[in-house]
């Protein structure tokens, strides 16, 4: 009897559907944040089609494609970690979460080298080489740094979030009957993935 009572008490304090809905509401604010930037991109791309085309040639498609593969795979591993915890396989869930973080870190390292090369070539906001170019190219690289930069910041935050979840999973506070926090972290991670799905073709593939 007492176990049923405990279960009931625990149930009163939990609303998994409400938690997930709350996470989705937060994701909508992220949608507006990035959506607004995509609108700015659309306007300037429309105004300077040729210069955007020329500027995009400077970007390395292979690096962009590699980062797409990394993020899509990390989206898969975070989903698999949720399935693992639902099946009560704590070890596998932690393994997939760590794997996700390693992939996220790989993405950031890639981004670091990509930006580094650009900066070495003298292409960064306010540089003389960039300012000597046309307005369209200046705008393209401005948007490139702001949008991929903000996205990379999200990747970093997502990584920290998953790290917290890994800690909670190891402690057993995320388990096969209570895994909504891991689901919420997963939702955030997938949103980061979706944003990259649009950033990749718009910046790297319009050459």
């Amino acid at each position: 009897m007492s176990s049923i009572a405990e279960h009931t008490v625990e149930h009163i304090h939990r609303d998994d559907v409400g938690s997930r809905l709350g996470m989705w509401l937060f994701l909508f604010t992220e949608l507006v944040l990035f959506g607004g930037m995509f609108l700015v991109y659309a306007v300037y791309r429309f105004t300077y089609p040729h210069e955007f085309h020329v500027a995009a040639k400077e970007l390395n498609t292979s690096v962009g494609a590699l980062n797409t593969i990394i993020l899509l795979t990390s989206s898969l591993t975070i989903v698999l970690s949720i399935i693992a915890i639902r099946k009560n396989n704590k070890f596998l869930s932690v393994f997939f979460q760590i794997f996700t973080m390693v992939l996220a870190f790989g993405f950031l390292i890639n981004k670091y080298f990509e930006w580094n090369i650009k900066i070495h070539h003298g292409i960064f906001p306010g540089s003389e080489i960039l300012l000597a170019k046309g307005n369209g190219e200046i705008l393209f690289f401005g948007l490139y740094y702001v949008m991929t930069g903000l996205h990379a910041l999200h990747v970093g935050i997502g990584m920290l979030l998953i790290e917290v979840m890994t800690g909670l999973t190891i402690k057993g506070r995320i388990n096969s009957t209570n895994y909504v926090r891991l689901e919420a972290a997963g939702l955030y991670w997938h949103l980061v993935d979706i944003i990259w799905i649009f950033l990749f073709p718009l910046f790297y593939l319009i050459t």
């Binding site: 509401l25 659309a42 429309f46 989903v79 698999l80 939702l187 979706i194 649009f198």
Partner: protein, 99 residues
Amino acid sequence: MSGEHLEITVEHKPTYGFYILIWLVLMMLTGVTVAVAGINFGNITIATALTIAIIKSYLVLTFFMHLKTETATFKIFVGVALLFLLISIALLFSDYSFL
């Protein structure tokens, strides 16, 4: 296929294989979008790239983000959010595409 379809609609029976399949499709679409970008279709190049991106996002939203197994409330919420984004895009282009 129908067996796998059944698996994901039953909430308590998640499978690894199904999600790996979705991931493979996403990888394939990435390959297609990179390959197609090399060919110059003129104006429809951007349309092709965006169409593939929308298909990929749909797969992520529906399966990875579990919208398929969520209640109607979730689907309506996401639908309304996307509708407002679409309205902003439409209003913006009513200003800019006829310059």
